[in-house]
Amino acid sequence: MVLDRLRLDGKVAIVTGAGRGLGQQMALALAEAGADVVCASRTQAQIEATADAVRAVGRRALAIPTDVRSSEQCKALIDATADEFGTLDIMLSNAGIGDARGHATELWDVNDEDWRDTIDVNLSSAFYCARAASKKMIDLNKPSGVIINVASGTALRAYTQNFGYGAAKAGVIALTKSLAVMLQRHNIRVNCIIPGFVAQRPAPTPEIAAMMQKQARYYPVQRLGEAWELGPLALYLASDASSYVTGQGFIIDGGGLAGGVAPVGFAPEVEG
């Protein structure tokens, strides 16, 4: 049965940035399909909540506070997972920060520290986790493994709000392709998810909901993506359902990147 190929029973997954938003929803989707999930992020209280939700669907969970800018902490996260569960099947590198730093009105106002921090948290983190996780999978003699990175649509077009973020995420896409080919002989598949604008949480008030709906007119599908919608896609890439897929980026963006040569709604009619 085709749906059986999506099951993750007996698998162990690590999800970084699992304390909220997309990471939390992806962690839950993997758990609901049968995986035990290690939840990582810097904020203990948030990952404890996700871990509790994983346990609530009957899976085992750990919450491990981790700063993914540190390669030591990434390695410790992976070691702790293997020590606790004896295995590691799925490494989902989702942690990233889009708007908290590197913000400046002018290019020359971005300082070195903010630039490096943007690259560290959004790109180096994926490298640190992939390096440690793939080595662990190989040392554990896993017959196969999966690495999923989360990039961003901002990697593929100009992103003037935070060009460093776009550049770092473009690095994640390139990293994904090279690692896919390099790790293929170990049967480790590497893919990335490329989200466009996706709401991290349901609108807390009707006013914010109205604001979000207003913003939605800029997207071909006329609505914003919702964090839960990343779950089924992550499950596809984490499971054997995608066993012939590697090195790819899966864009989930409401149609924006497939168009973008005119404002949404422009639909000319011209008799030639």
Partner: protein
């Protein structure tokens, strides 16, 4: 701290459930079309199976798929129509919509391949390759799109269109100029229709395949031909069952925020430098 509660969320494996959906699979007698049709049925959809040629062999193969779908407890109907004719596609799609009560999912999985030097491609070759790959895709999309637009918006999904294409829509290969052109047409047709119908709740995506295990081209006896499978990072050709789960995902309500995309199921082939 709490976990976000999304009112519309479809959870995990439930997200892939296609119960109550009505799918039309064009090219259902072929390997990939058959695998997709069976997977959609396994996930709960009723399926109309269409073959574009009237060869006795294909008719027999299609009959077998019809039985397989019915064995899964789903409704199956069969159609034999040349969809490289706009009118043929229109009549067939209308009939399917009548028989199934509507069309929620269209899969274009028929594929016609020839390879020869451009200087030897005849007008008839060109017309056949472009007609059966690209024009047929447009004609079925046009006809099914009409039916989908007539339907009421159910939640956020009004329709799902999945066009099975090839990495050759993005890359060149010697002796495949007509096929490469037609496949590129399918990919960008998918993007354009995605833009046109996005606000109406119809998503249009393409699945691009690499070298498949039943590809006639892989029988090429030259040294380069023999090396082609080794050139794929996964060191094996694709199989029909590698493709089917992605089609189920793209047919489901869970993929509503994905449209205009080309997704590669190619063993890493398109990642090759």
């Amino acid at each position: 701290m709490t976990v976000a509660d999304w009112p519309n969320a479809k959870r995990s494996l439930d997200a892939y459930d296609l119960a109550g959906k009505r799918a039309l699979v064009v090219g259902a007698a072929g390997g990939v079309g058959r695998a997709i049709a069976l997977a959609l049925a396994e996930a709960g959809a009723d399926v109309a199976l269409c073959t574009s040629t009237s060869s006795a062999e294909e008719a027999l193969a299609l009959r077998k798929v019809v039985r397989e779908v019915r064995d899964l407890g789903r409704n199956a109907i069969e159609q034999s129509t040349d969809v490289s004719s706009g009118q043929g596609a229109q009549v067939m799609v209308k009939q399917v919509a009548k028989d199934l009560g509507g069309i929620d999912v269209l899969v274009n999985a028929s594929d016609v391949f020839i390879a020869k030097p451009a200087t030897r491609i005849t007008d008839a070759d060109w017309a056949r390759i472009v007609g059966h790959n690209l024009s047929a895709t447009f004609f079925t999309c046009r006809a099914a799109g009409k039916e989908m637009l007539k339907a009421e918006m159910k939640g956020r999904a009004r329709g799902r269109i999945i066009n099975v294409a090839s990495v050759l829509g993005d890359r060149g290969l010697p002796n495949a100029s007509a096929y490469c052109a037609a496949q590129a047409g399918i990919l960008n047709l998918s993007r354009a229709l995605a833009q046109e119908w996005a606000a109406q709740g119809i998503t249009v995506n393409a699945i691009a395949l690499g070298w498949m295990d039943d590809s006639a081209a892989l029988g090429d006896p030259t040294p380069a031909g023999n090396q082609t499978v080794r050139y794929i990072p996964m060191k094996r050709a694709g199989r029909a069952e590698d493709v089917a789960p992605l089609a189920v995902y793209l047919a489901s309500d869970a993929s509503g925020y994905i449209t205009g995309q080309v997704m590669y199921v190619d063993g890493g082939l398109s990642t090759h430098l």
